[in-house]
Amino acid sequence: MTLAATLAGLAAGTTDLAADSRGFLSPTGVEIAFLLVGLVTFGAAVVTVTTKQLVHAALWLVVTLGGLAVEYLLLTAEFIAWVQVLIYVGSVIVLLLFGLMLTRAPIGRSPDADSGNRWVALAVAVAAAAALVWVVVDAFRTTWIDLDGAPAGSTDVTGASLFQHWVLPFEALSVLLLAALVGAIVLSRKATADAATAAATGTPPAGSPPAVAPPTTAPVTDPATGPASAPVTGPSASGAADAGSDTEGSR
């Protein structure tokens, strides 16, 4: 409320912020499109968090993220919309599907997808939604976004502001992505290294169950080099590398 009032005071005289003439009962075409896509997005999000089929949850998440990309387009933020399509629909969903497959998600309904505290969670979520919607509607009931004119988020505008004012965070983010990449590779290579040392020394690592594979396949491959050189990278390491390189490339 105070933020909106301050900004309204700042911008008084330049643009008409108060949308008293524009009611909610006479929506424009963009608002109708936003509402319809928003309904689809919200419905897909609800199905994502409630469905019992794990792979279907990932596929409904595609609908949610794609609907959000359309909302960005309707808000004239084109560059963000395409980045959303590239990174989320293109790589994050693929990573999630890989994760589901690699942890042997059951195809079909899994009865234990929801935890025992789902009713508490539902109460918390509904209470938070009611409070947030009430506050947001009360604060921004009369605020109007002027969508006419040049798009606010074209590649030109976004690139200029990103490389004029936001260069240092941008570079710091590159270092963060590199650190995440290295971390993902280290996390998913650890067990491979353990298995390699176990195969080389002939003893299983501490705390692991006795392995059945190495004695039977020892004549086929050289035990010192065979298992150590065969798995080059773990599956999630290459997937994380995908995400990192996608992010770098799309920017």
Binding site: T48, L75, A121, A125, P209
Partner: protein
């Protein structure tokens, strides 16, 4: 467009993700719900940036820059998160976060037998795959 539409949609998506984080049991579904919450924040940032770029003639475009940063951080987060989930699955044989209670106070862990027994099947399978590769 009224600013209330994207703001309300963002609040609803955030609470949907909140429900998912609290109610889901599979770790990857929890990661999906976290993505929903991050996307709700992104929608809020973009909507307010578009509003302020016209209403207050703000030329920094901080909302869109922050959205790009959030998307990149979310990509890094999902990579690290999936690596952790896969490591846990490799060691425990489950990605069920309700059963990962080793550090909980007042609860004894399930005992050394249960997770090791569960872990034997996928670990043996993984070693088979590695040996034959």
């Amino acid at each position: 467009m009224h600013l209330a539409y994207p703001a309300v949609l963002s609040a609803l998506l955030f609470c949907t993700g909140l429900y998912g984080v609290l109610a889901r049991r599979n770790a990857i579904l929890v990661l999906m719900s976290v993505e929903l919450m991050l996307n709700a924040v992104n929608l809020n940032l973009v909507a307010f940036d578009v509003w302020l770029s016209r209403a207050a003639e703000e030329t920094l475009h901080s909302g869109q820059a922050l959205t790009l940063f959030t998307i990149a951080i979310a990509a890094a987060e999902i990579g690290i998160g999936l690596a952790i989930v896969l490591a846990v699955y490799r060691n425990r044989g489950t990605s069920d976060i309700d059963r990962l209670r080793d550090t909980a106070e007042g609860h004894e862990p399930d005992g050394p037998d249960a997770p090791d027994h569960d872990a034997s099947a996928p670990r043996a399978a993984a070693e088979n795959a590695e040996a034959t590769a």
